[in-house]
Each structure stands twice: as structure tokens, then as C-alpha cells.
């Protein structure tokens, strides 16, 4: 316990300074959400590269939580779905059901090139299509994988903070 406190004191603050707030991307949704977005992440078949970047975006350095974005454990608690990877056959039904389970009003974010247009996995035998082919997408974050800065910026566009 003492070591922990010492470490906290020695390390100090590692989070980057917050850049200026970007313009809200979905102004009418942002008003509904009131600056706080609860996010459920669905891995629809990603290579896990995107996951690493998401973890980093919510880590201490980029700290997306200070802008009002938070990851939650169930779609029932969520305002937004953060979907990564191309949608594989095995995840198609699960993605549809997860989308159905999110209460209205909801936002779907397609994160990474795979989620946007199947990326390097386009036309692979196990792939059904991009996220947009399965559920309606509101926001896209390009990159393979997108950098944490890009993820944070997109989320800030949603929270408006």
C-alpha cells in the first residue's frame, strides 16, 4: 500500500494536456447525450490492433474519460456502440442483437478501416461485410488501426467536450 502511494506521488501526472475541443460531429445527438457518452465496445472480428489502440485511448496518457466518454459492460447501459473489425459470420447475429439491446437514442461508431470497409479482410470467406452492412453507422474513425489521438478526437466530437 505504501509503495503504491509512493509510486503515485513519484509518477505524477502523465496525461497529455487537453487540446482544444473539436466541433461536435453530431450536434443534435450531442444535445441528447448531454456531454456524457456511455460506450459499449463490440469486437465483430477485429485483428485486435484496434483494441490495443482503444485501450490506449482510455489509458492514463490519452484518458478519454475526462471528456465524458466511458466504457460500460452491457449494451443496456450504453448510449453508443464502438464496433471494430469486419463483421464475421459468427458475430453478425450478436452484433444485431447488441444493437437492438441499446436503448434509444443510440449512436454506432465504426472504428478502424475494417469496420468501415472490411479493410485488409475484404472478401475473406468468413466476412459478412463492413459494420455499415449490418447496422446503421453514424460515425467513422479511419485508420488501420486509428491512432489514440484520432479515437479521442472522435469521441470528443460526440461528447462535445
Amino acid at each position: 500500500m505504501r509503495d503504491l502511494f509512493r509510486k503515485i506521488r513519484k509518477t505524477g501526472r502523465v496525461a497529455q494536456d487537453a487540446p482544444r475541443a473539436p466541433e461536435p460531429v453530431l450536434p443534435e445527438r450531442a444535445r441528447d447525450l448531454g456531454g456524457s457518452v456511455q460506450i459499449r465496445h463490440v469486437d465483430a472480428g477485429s485483428c485486435n490492433g484496434c483494441e490495443v489502440e482503444i485501450a490506449s485511448a482510455f489509458g492514463p496518457v490519452y484518458d478519454a474519460e475526462r471528456y465524458g466518454a466511458r466504457q460500460v459492460a452491457s449494451p443496456r447501459h450504453a448510449d453508443a456502440l464502438l464496433v471494430t473489425g469486419p463483421v464475421t459470420r459468427n458475430m453478425e447475429m450478436a452484433l444485431r442483437r447488441t444493437y437492438e439491446a441499446v436503448p434509444e437514442p443510440k449512436v454506432v461508431i465504426a472504428l478502424g478501416d475494417c469496420a468501415r470497409n472490411c479493410g485488409v479482410f475484404a472478401e475473406a470467406y468468413g466476412v459478412v461485410g463492413a459494420v455499415g452492412d449490418v447496422v446503421p453507422v453514424d460515425l467513422e474513425i479511419p485508420g488501420c488501426p486509428p491512432e489514440p489521438e484520432a479515437i479521442v478526437a472522435a469521441l470528443r466530437g460526440l461528447t462535445g467536450r
Partner: protein, 671 residues
């Protein structure tokens, strides 16, 4: 009133026994059942009349050889008689439907239920040692025959019967020893004579008498560590008999302790009551812990009986301690709480055992892990069990709450006034009552939630059918009594005060029809107002939520969230075992569960698992540690003694010859 109703009760039950014995199978069940219920109702009337002060006594000199039978009813005996009668009414009505199947409509079970009831009405009415012991033994034998009624269908019944037979007779032996010694020293065997002579006896003698009868009565009441027969016998008996045993018979153990300890021996030393208090506390905790982890519905209820009788004894012990230290009002309050708890426990335990019987009748299983989903197939039983579970949980709206509140009040208020002894004993006693109340909630949430709600966990539970009308009627009567006791205990408390006064004379401890006031202490409570307030609060909150939820957005029907994978199966549900697992882990050291994990790898590689077997069992640790060694030693002694009897006739003739000669020589030397 008593002089008519009590003989009527006995007469009707004996008539029922005759009907069970001689009538052909067709009308036997209904006739015996109705007559037994009538006998129970008459017993309620007789008991209530005795509680209102209609003392009654009778001497039947010719009935028993040498001593004759003496009967007398005072308010204390009346209370136990009324409780027994009320339980019998419910159980007999229920039995009409329940005994239709499974060979329970045979002569023996149909005769023995009324005989059992008759014995239980005689015990609190007995007024001499011989009458009491005779009724006590009759009660034990009748219940033993009922416990083994289904011995053909299950092996466990036989083991349960054996345990019960041995334990109850060991209990009889110590009670017999204690009371016979008492009667010899008092030169009288009538209770009046004993009462008069008790003061003249030496303290050590009285202590020995109390110790002996306490051991015997505590075993009947299912007090740890003498409880081992109870969680075996009560579940294996037919369910209406389980109700009679668990709600009426165990009470008589407490009756014995109160009657002999307070009334006949006239109080006694502080250590008696400390012993009672400690045994009660230990039993309450051990019982409820075992109930919390039990997976068998009826075993759970049986352990809950151990717990509740433990709580009653906490009250009785506290009352005795207060009486010794001269705190009359507190003593009366503690005993009122204990006796009220007996009444309440009888109510909800009857209901719960009968409902458990309906489950067994409808599904064929008592295993909670194989039940579930009965809400749709057995709605009436589910509702009734729910009522019983609420009553047993010691929460407001339940009748157990009222008596446990009174008990806690008496224990807490003892602190400022009492000496060092109460200052040391009361805080742990309060903790025990509070902890057992908390665990009881978890236990009954488990029993109700896992057993009745959610989805069926087996095909047996899926095919459940609702109980027939007589069974529902029996349960409904019990539920009604419970609800009345829960919202208006003020109706029975004045009558109870007279019963208390027999043992702990003093002013009424609790007064007031709606709001209960404690005499001489600062404490009031109104179960009726609490119930009304809770009802208004719950309905109001639900209405508010409904309004708040519909105001903003339209409702949408969504599928049950199942993590996006296929439909949820019953295997994903909480089971009784998994629900109790955290508790089991916390109380690991007390319960000592046996778990064993068997992993069989594939032949090709040790890293590839072929099958995993996981077994867990929570045995009765007291039985394991205390009784098993004795039993093994006895078995070993028996084996060794076999060498004496090897089947040779010469040897047996030799034994006879040498014993006889030895005796003659001994006589010649002594004379």
C-alpha cells in the same frame, strides 16, 4: 369450556385413529383426516380456553397401573396445546389430499397421525411424571412409525428412522432419569407435589435434575449438538408429518424445559440459564448456516427449525437469567418473546413444510437445484410458499419479525440494568440473533428464488402440477394464521401473558392492541402501521416509477439481453449451490464442506482434458466429529464382543453354569 373441549379433542383424535384402522381404503383417508382436523380444532378451543384462565384438571386413577393418570391444563400447557391443535388442523386437511398416493393411505400411517396428535395433546396436559413420560413415549413411537412410513421407496428413510429412534430414546432415558430422581427426592410424582418439594431439595440435586431433563428436551427441540436426528427425520417423513413434527412436536421440547425449569424447579441458578442461552445461540447460528447452504428444500426447512428453536431458547435462557438477577419485567418480556416465537414459528413452518410437500407432490423432487419455474405451473403453491418465506425472514410484514424484535428488545434493554453477567452475555446474544436473522433472509431468498422463480431446471420441474384442493386448503389456513399473527400480534399477546405468568410471574410484558408497548421499558412498535406504511410506500413507488418511465419516450419491447448469443438455457441460472457458495466460503471453517475435483486428461496428452468431475457436499460437521467416533467405537466393541458368542452350544451352557455358580458364591460371601 376446557373440560368439554379437551376430552372432545382426545375423543375425536382417537375416533380418527379407529377410523384409520378399521375403515376400508375408500373412505379411510377422508374420514380420518376430517376427524383429526376436528380433534385439532377442539384442541385449539381447549388450549385457548385454558389460556384465558379456565384451568382444568382430572384424575383417572384406573387408567395407569399403580400411579393412575393425572391431567391438568394451565395457561402454559394451554398455549402449547392450542399451537399443536392449530398445526394439526392444517396438516390433517392437507393430509387428505397428500396421502392419496405413495402408499400413505395405508392403515399404519392413517392411524398413526391421529395417535401422534393425541400424544401431543396429552404431553402439555400431563400433570404427573408417569403420565408425562407415557405421553412423551407415545409421541415418540407414533412419530417414529410415521417417519418410516415411506421406507419402501427410499433407503434414506431407514437411516433417518434409525437415527431418530436412537436419539429419541436416549432423550427419553435422560428425561426419565431426571424426572424419576426428582420424584424420588420429592416423594411425589404429581407436578403439584414436585412444585411444593422443589425448594427443599439441595441445589446440586436440582441442578442435576435440570441438566438431565434439559439434555433430553433439547434433543427433542433439535438444539445443537443434539439435533442430528432432526435434519434427517423431518425431511424423510411424509410432508404433513414433517409439519406436525417441525411445528408442533419440537415445541414440546421447549415446553419441557420451561415447565420443569421454571415451574417445577422454580427458577434455579444462573448457570442453568447460561447453558440454555449458549445452547440456543449455538443452535441458532449452526442451524441457519446449515440451512443457508442446504440444497434439499425439506432439509433446509429442518435446519431452519433448529435455528428457530435456538432463538426460542435464547429467549428462555435470557428470561431465566433475568429472573435470577431479579429483573422481573425483563424476564417476562424475554419469555413472551420466546413463546410468541414458538407460535409464529409453528405458523410459518407448517406453511413452509406443507408447501414443500406440494412441490414434492407436484414434481417428485426436493432438490432445489432441480426445481425452478414453478411460478407458472404451481401458482397457488408458489404464492403460499412466498408468504411463508417472508414470514420466516424476520422482516417487517412477517410474523417472525415481531417476536425477534421483542427478543432483541429484551436482550438490549438488559444491558444498562444488569450486572457483569448480563453485560458479558447479552452483546454476543444480540449479535447471534441479528446474524441468524440476516442469514435467514438469505436462506429464504434462496429457497423461494431458486426453487420457484426463474426457469425450470429439470424436466420434473417443467411437468409440475398444482396441488389438489385439500392440500391448498391446509396451506391457506396456515397462511391466514401467519398473516393475522404478523399484522396483529396484539390479539394473542394478552392471552400469552397468562402463559408467561405461569413461569415468570409479573405484570404483562407487552401491552397495546395495535401499537405494542413494552412495560417498564422504552420501546414501541406497531406491526399494523408498518405494514400499512410499507404497502403505501411500495404501491406509491411503483406508481411513481410508472409515471416517470412513460413520460418521456415511448416504450419499446426488446429481447432479453443474452450477451448476443443464442437463447439462455436453464443451465445458466443461479442454482441453490451457487447462490450459497459465497456464504459457504465465508463460513468455510464452521461448515467444512467437502469438495473434490477430478480431472481426467486424454490418453494422448496430459494437457487435453477429457472430463472434469466436481463434487461438493456440506455434511453435518457435528455429526461427523461428535457422533461418528462414538458410533465407530460402538461398532468395534460389537465386533469384538462377537468372539464371546461363537455359536457353540457348549460354550453357552458353560456361560450359564459359571454365571450361576458365580452368583451363588457371591451371595454366599455377602450373606
Amino acid at each position: 369450556m376446557t373440560s368439554v373441549a379437551f376430552p372432545a379433542a382426545l375423543g375425536l383424535t382417537l375416533l380418527a385413529a379407529v377410523a384409520g384402522l378399521v375403515l376400508p381404503r375408500g373412505p379411510r383417508r377422508v374420514t380420518a383426516g376430517v376427524l383429526t382436523a376436528g380433534g385439532g380444532a377442539a384442541a385449539v378451543v381447549a388450549g385457548a380456553a385454558a389460556m384465558r384462565g379456565g384451568d382444568w384438571s382430572a384424575r383417572l386413577p384406573g387408567l395407569l397401573p399403580l400411579a393412575g393418570a393425572r391431567l391438568a391444563l394451565d395457561p402454559l400447557g394451554g398455549l402449547f396445546l392450542a399451537v399443536t391443535g392449530a398445526v394439526a388442523v392444517c396438516a390433517a386437511l392437507y393430509g387428505i389430499g397428500y396421502t392419496r398416493h405413495g402408499g400413505l393411505d395405508g392403515r399404519v400411517p392413517q392411524t398413526m397421525v391421529p395417535v401422534f396428535l393425541a400424544a401431543m395433546t396429552l404431553v402439555p396436559a400431563a400433570a404427573s411424571v408417569s403420565t408425562f413420560l407415557l405421553a412423551w413415549e407415545l409421541m415418540a413411537l407414533a412419530s417414529l412409525l410415521l417417519v418410516v412410513a415411506e421406507h419402501r421407496s427410499r433407503d434414506e428413510v431407514r437411516a433417518a428412522g434409525l437415527w431418530y429412534a436412537v436419539m429419541t430414546h436416549l432423550g427419553l432415558v435422560v428425561i426419565l432419569g431426571g424426572l424419576a430422581g426428582f420424584a424420588a427426592a420429592a416423594h411425589s410424582e404429581s407436578f403439584e407435589g414436585l412444585r411444593a418439594a422443589a425448594d427443599g431439595l439441595p441445589a446440586a440435586g436440582r441442578g442435576a435434575v435440570f441438566l438431565a431433563v434439559f439434555a433430553g428436551f433439547a434433543s427433542k427441540a433439535g438444539i445443537a449438538p443434539l439435533h442430528v436426528w432432526l435434519p434427517r427425520a423431518h425431511p424423510e417423513a411424509p410432508s404433513h408429518v414433517s409439519a406436525l413434527m417441525s411445528a408442533a412436536m419440537v415445541n414440546l421440547g421447549v415446553y419441557g424445559i420451561v415447565r420443569v425449569g421454571f415451574d417445577l424447579l422454580g427458577g434455579g441458578a444462573a448457570w442453568w440459564w447460561l447453558l440454555v442461552l449458549a445452547a440456543g445461540g449455538a443452535s441458532a447460528l449452526y442451524g441457519i448456516l446449515q440451512a443457508a447452504v442446504a440444497g434439499d428444500l425439506k432439509r433446509l426447512l429442518a435446519y431452519s427449525t433448529c435455528e428457530n428453536m435456538g432463538l426460542v431458547l435464547v429467549g428462555v435462557g435470557a428470561s431465566g437469567l433475568f429472573a435470577v438477577s431479579g429483573a422481573r419485567a425483563l424476564s417476562a418480556l424475554a419469555l413472551t418473546a420466546a413463546l410468541l416465537h414458538i407460535v409464529n414459528h409453528a405458523g410459518f413452518k407448517t406453511l413452509l413444510f406443507l408447501a414443500a410437500g406440494s412441490v414434492l407432490h407436484g414434481t417428485g423432487t426436493r432438490d432445489l437445484d432441480a426445481l425452478g419455474g414453478l411460478r407458472t405451473t404451481m401458482p397457488a403453491t408458489t404464492a403460499l410458499f412466498g408468504v411463508g418465506a417472508l414470514m420466516a425472514s424476520a422482516l417487517p410484514l412477517g410474523n417472525g419479525f415481531v417476536s425477534e424484535w421483542l427478543l432483541l428488545q429484551s436482550l438490549i434493554h438488559a444491558l444498562p440494568s444488569g450486572g457483569t453477567l448480563t453485560a458479558v452475555t447479552m452483546p454476543p446474544a444480540v449479535a447471534v440473533v441479528a446474524l441468524s436473522a440476516g442469514l435467514a433472509i438469505a436462506t429464504f431468498v434462496k429457497a423461494f428464488g431458486v426453487g420457484f422463480l426463474a426457469r425450470p431446471r429439470s424436466s420434473a420441474a417443467e411437468r409440475a402440477r398444482e396441488a389438489p384442493a385439500p392440500m391448498l386448503a391446509g396451506m391457506a389456513v396456515a397462511a391466514l394464521c401467519c398473516v393475522l399473527l404478523a399484522i396483529s400480534p396484539g390479539a394473542v399477546l394478552p392471552a400469552l401473558a397468562r402463559s408467561v405468568a405461569v413461569a415468570a410471574p409479573g405484570p404483562d410484558a407487552v401491552t397495546g392492541p395495535v401499537t405494542l408497548h413494552l412495560t417498564g421499558l422504552a420501546g414501541t412498535m406497531s406491526p399494523l402501521l408498518i405494514a400499512a406504511f410499507l404497502l403505501v410506500a411500495v404501491v406509491g413507488l411503483l406508481a411513481l416509477l410508472r409515471v416517470a418511465a412513460t413520460r418521456r419516450t415511448a416504450r419499446r419491447r426488446a429481447r432479453l439481453w443474452d450477451c448476443g448469443a443464442g437463447p439462455m438455457s436453464a443451465r445458466m441460472e443461479y442454482t441453490a449451490t451457487s447462490f450459497a457458495e459465497p456464504l459457504q466460503r465465508v463460513f468455510d471453517d464452521v461448515l467444512a464442506p467437502e469438495t473434490d475435483l477430478d480431472v481426467t486428461p486424454l490418453k494422448e496428452s496430459a494437457y487435453l482434458v477429457n472430463s472434469v468431475t466436481y463434487r461438493t457436499r456440506v455434511g453435518d460437521r457435528i455429526e461427523h466429529r461428535l457422533y461418528r467416533p462414538v458410533l465407530t467405537a460402538a461398532a468395534r466393541a460389537g465386533e469384538a464382543a462377537r468372539g464371546l458368542a461363537n455359536g457353540s452350544v457348549h460354550r453357552y451352557v458353560g456361560y450359564g453354569f459359571y454365571t450361576f455358580t458365580g452368583l451363588l458364591i457371591a451371595l454366599a460371601v455377602i450373606r
